[in-house]
């Protein structure tokens, strides 16, 4: 008995000690040692006017893709030379004169096409042989996914069924699939369908549904779940040695059929697949095991295997952002592709449903446990709090690196300068704006004016159209905050009277914006509209007002500056800046270096890269550049007529008038005025997420009539004061 007790005591003690001894970092060190060899990406631009690229197919032994809405055909050469562009005459012949057609699938033998009439909006599906013979199909369901097998059989998904289209045009259902099909691919003898329920395999050789391999099914299921409500783009293709290549925003993966694991072969962070402004269209694996990936935007990437590529990345740069940001993602992609020896560990705090508080707790844990990121995007964070805690490095110590020739807009880049010190730099900026008929615009100088304008106009013109476009009350409060934050927080304290007025204005805008009980949808599906989209509604319908931010030349400023060319004339006008002084701007992608980070050198290089002229041309839609060389490059785009768009038309909401205008790149004079304007911007708008959440939540409660305006204001003041007291 004694022996047993002794043994049990010793065993329990040893077990405890052994688990502690296991906490060595040997395993971690081992993981860093990687072998040589990897895929190198080379990017080819097809065409700037591509609508979306179709599935990559081998046609006449040439890797081909089509612009799915126009009849352009692109052949991707093997030797790295330019993509050959031509017009596919077979398709051109059947293009409707009024309406549009979409290529759904292509093969050597022909094409599967949908054709929609511009008059009746009816869609017909047809098979078009390579000789130009067309056969109309009797299909009532909407078809979004179709593909030919290697043997020429055509499969498609329609009406929650996987179907086969026979040569005679008859449609035979094969198996039931889900309502929301994400992707369908024909790979060898299998048709693989991914839907909200999971992965379905159909064995086309034996004409029966087959069991999906568990590893592949788990991998795809996890990826789809992780994406949540975001649009999921996945494509798969057959690869040598009975394997499948899977492309998605996380990178490229390889799965050997019936194997137990899915292996990542290309990391999305360091290639175009991780670029949020590119939408994956298709992947094709060539015989030499190089892979070609096409994106809707007209970008094609080739991934070639380089056996000598150093995988042993000596340098790790840890980057942290609270939320997903297109500018930062593009900068990381660009930096990673130029610095192959650097492994970028990019973390996004608020992803997969993580709340702000949980994300911040995680971030704090990282910093305090000695695993702080090197570089941080400070958007939405309490920057001054971090500066007070000496958490951020003074970037002015290496300003000669990131502002070599003094080509940056200092008023914007260094908006948060503390004496001689700079702790964060803005990489992009947007400008709040307001638009209305020119006479009305003169009277709209504050949010209160806007609310009064909407209230009066709703009474005067009680038609069914909204008077100011916003998708959700939350968005209204966020946008309104840009206009009034200077007043609410201007004195350094919270002005409760102004906050009450602010909530009162939001309440009135929300209440009188739409006619009672009438909801008018314009097909925006709740997505955030740009300022220009809203201003278009000012053109389409009088007595309306537009608010938002102007982010870019191409989609925003050029359109605004082209409005004076509207035929027939229209009084719509706009002004940039807003706020009491009209000089408000929103600094975006604010980068800082964390003092406790381990790799300051690489973080400094990254900042210098991010503010350089070339990278500043990236992520055009997400904000204006802060580098004057990049800005000049944008200004000079007016020299090329290809950048102009002629004959843009807008129909009034009651369909009584059609306005036509040419969208031309801003002229030198307009560019000069804009340049002078942005150099004078001096009021940054930057509110941390916690403060914003408090204001937005209380604003929503008041707009829902859950609390009165004064209650919402006093609750907000008390919460913000409590926050300040902490």
């Amino acid at each position: 008995m004694k022996r047993t007790l002794k043994a049990a005591a010793l065993f329990s003690a040893l077990m405890t000690l052994s688990s502690l001894a296991g906490c060595s970092d040997e395993e971690q060190q081992q993981a860093v040692k990687l072998s040589k060899g990897g895929y190198v990406e080379s990017v080819m631009e097809v065409d700037s006017d591509v609508f979306s690229l179709s599935e990559l197919e081998l046609i006449d032994n040439k890797l081909t893709t089509f612009d799915s809405m126009f009849c352009n055909e692109y052949v991707i050469p093997n030797d790295g030379s330019d993509v050959e562009t031509s017009v596919n005459q077979t398709m051109k012949k059947i293009e409707p004169s009024d309406g549009y057609m979409t290529l759904l699938a292509s093969s050597e033998n022909g094409y599967f096409i949908s054709r929609t009439s511009g008059a009746s909006f009816e869609t017909e599906y047809l098979l078009l042989s390579s000789e130009g013979e067309e056969k109309k199909l009797d299909i009532d369901d909407f078809i979004a996914h179709a593909e030919y097998s290697e043997s020429g059989r055509l499969f498609m998904v329609g009406g929650e069924n996987l179907c086969e289209v026979a040569e005679n045009g008859s449609v035979k259902p094969l198996m039931t699939v889900g309502e929301n099909v994400i992707n369908m691919d024909v790979i060898g003898d299998n048709v693989i369908v991914i839907d909200e329920k999971g992965v379905h395999f159909y064995d086309i050789k034996n004409d029966k549904e087959a069991e999906a391999p568990k590893a592949l099914s788990d991998f795809l299921g996890e990826y789809v779940n992780k994406a949540g409500s975001e649009e999921v783009r996945i494509d798969m293709c057959k690869a040598p040695n009975d394997s499948i290549c899977i492309a998605c925003s996380d990178g490229i993966y390889k799965y050997i059929l019936n194997g137990n694991n899915v292996e990542q072969i290309v990391d999305g962070v360091s290639c175009s697949l991780g670029n949020p402004s590119l939408k994956l269209s298709s992947i094709y694996c060539c015989d030499d095991e190089s892979m070609v990936v096409a994106f809707d935007e007209g970008t094609i990437s080739r991934f070639s295997y380089d056996p000598e590529m150093e995988n042993d990345k000596a340098v790790v740069l840890k980057v942290y952002a609270l939320e997903k940001d297109e500018v930062l993602s593009q900068l990381i992609n660009g930096y990673a592709s130029q610095n192959r020896d650097v492994k970028i560990d990019f973390q996004i705090g608020m992803k997969d449903g993580t709340t702000y508080e949980d994300a911040m707790k995680d971030f704090t844990t990282q910093v305090l446990s000695g695993n702080a990121p090197d570089l941080i995007m400070l958007d939405g964070m309490d920057i001054d709090n971090y500066i007070d805690k000496n958490m951020l490095c003074d970037l002015s110590s290496f300003e000669s690196e990131w502002n070599k020739d003094g080509k940056l807009l200092d008023n914007i880049v260094k908006w948060n300068k503390k004496g001689d010190k700079v702790f964060n730099v803005a990489c992009k900026f947007t400008i709040p704006a307001i638009g209305a008929d020119s006479d009305d615009l003169k009277k709209l100088n504050s949010l209160e004016d806007i609310a009064g304008f909407i209230k009066d106009n709703r009474k005067q013109y009680d038609d069914r159209f909204p008077l100011m476009y916003f998708e959700k009350p939350e968005q209204l409060v966020k946008t309104a905050l840009i206009y009034e934050s200077g007043d609410i927080f201007g004195s350094g304290k919270i002005d409760s009277d102004k906050l009450e007025k602010f909530f009162g204005s939001c309440y009135d805008i929300n209440k009188y914006n739409e006619k009672g009980g009438e909801y008018v949808s314009y097909g925006y599906d709740g997505n955030e509209m740009s300022f220009v989209d809203r201003l278009f509604n000012v053109i389409r319908e009088d007595h309306t007002v537009a608010v938002g931010t102007v982010n870019t030349f191409n989609y925003d400023l050029n359109i605004l500056e082209s409005l004076n060319g509207l035929t027939p004339e229209n009084n719509a006008d706009y002004k940039l800046g807003t706020g009491r002084n009209g000089k408000v701007f929103v600094p975006k992608c604010n980068l800082g270096i964390i003092e406790a980070g381990k790799n300051h050198e690489e973080a400094e290089k990254f900042i210098a890269y991010a503010l350089g002229a070339e990278p500043q041309k990236l992520a055009e839609e997400s904000g204006f550049s802060v580098n004057t060389d990049a800005l000049s490059w944008f200004y000079k785009k007016n020299e090329n007529d290809i950048n102009n768009f002629y004959g843009y038309d807008l129909t009034s909401l009651d369909e009584s008038k059609t306005f036509v205008f040419d969208i031309k790149w801003i002229t030198n004079k307009q560019a000069k005025e804009f340049d002078e304007f942005i150099r004078a911007l001096d009021t940054p708008f930057a509110v941390d997420k916690a403060t914003e959440q408090i204001i937005v939540n209380n604003g929503i409660e008041c707009m829902n009539d859950s609390v009165s305006i004064s209650e919402a204001a006093s609750k907000t003041v008390s919460q913000l004061e409590l926050k300040m007291k902490e």
Binding site: S12, K361, T364, K389, N390, K723, K725, E726
Partner: protein, 283 residues
């Protein structure tokens, strides 16, 4: 010989205790000592600043408010819970179907916090059931969760959740009292009140000690409900120490947090030691 035997037994005891001792050392003692150390340093840059963090938190209005609320909550809840649960348990011991009641009483403990919070919101939110009833009967609505009443909602929530468990502890204590003692008292002419105050209550002292400690510790857990109902910045009346610690952690005010933790620990430790001494003295 006996000495040698005792020594050996001590070694075995120590070996058995080693796993849990190590756990307590690694996960409680060492982190606490580190917190004590950190309370004298800045949060991120780790510069020694002496007692400045203590000075800062003593002047911090949010800390003062949180301490006041937490102390008030404890002072209201624990006596209320002890008294209500005792009288409820005394009455229950008189009923025959005690087993069934015991199971029912444990139900609130089995309800997950998230579900409970949902119930509180349905009942007490500005557009909740209670306000609907108030409005439909011609009364004005009450902002239960955004006014001083939030404190009493939280007190109610705490008592409701812990009442059943505490009653069971009392009932177990009461049942342990020998029936023959009570019978003898009855024979000697003692009335119900005499039995309660002279026999039952004096015999329940150890139970009272356990209940007080458990209730005190459970009172800190009410933060989950408060946080889920009203978020990180609730109404001033339910802003508890845990809200402050939670927000300090998010804002990286680890230095202030460490100093406050040391202070709070010292106060609680002193209170427990004092309580135990008082108890021992009375015994």
């Amino acid at each position: 010989m006996t000495k040698c035997k005792t020594k050996k037994q001590n070694v075995y005891c120590l070996l058995f205790l080693l796993p849990s001792l190590l756990g307590v050392m690694i996960f409680i003692f060492i982190p606490f000592l580190d917190s004590v150390r950190k309370s004298f340093f800045t949060a991120v840059s780790e510069k020694f600043i002496g007692a400045k963090n203590y000075e800062v938190i003593m002047k911090n209005d949010a800390f003062a408010l949180a301490v006041k609320n937490t102390a008030l909550f404890t002072a209201v809840c624990i006596p209320a819970l002890i008294i209500i649960s005792f009288f409820l348990s005394y009455m229950i011991t008189k009923i025959k179907c005690i087993r069934l009641i015991k199971s029912v009483l444990l139900f609130p403990l089995a309800i997950p916090t998230a579900a409970m919070v949902l119930i509180w919101q349905i009942l007490f939110s500005d557009n909740g059931y209670i306000n609907n009833i108030l409005v439909s009967t011609g009364h004005g609505s009450v902002s239960f969760l955004s006014s001083k009443t939030a404190f009493w909602v939280l007190v109610g929530s705490y008592i409701w959740k812990n009442l059943g468990y505490t009653v069971i502890l009392w009932v177990t204590g009461i049942m342990k009292i020998s029936g023959s003692v009570i019978e003898a008292a009855k024979v000697d002419g003692a009335g119900e009140a005499d039995i309660l105050f002279r026999i039952i209550i004096p015999n329940l002292k150890p139970t009272l000690y356990t209940i007080t400690i458990i209730s005190f510790l459970n009172s800190f857990k009410v933060f989950r409900e408060a946080f889920l109902v009203a978020g990180a910045y609730p109404h001033d009346s339910i802003y508890l120490l845990q809200h402050l610690f939670n927000n300090w952690f998010i804002n990286m005010d680890f230095d202030k947090m460490a100093a406050a933790a040391v202070l709070v620990f010292s106060v609680i430790f002193a209170a427990i030691v004092l309580l135990q001494r008082m108890w021992n003295k009375e015994d």
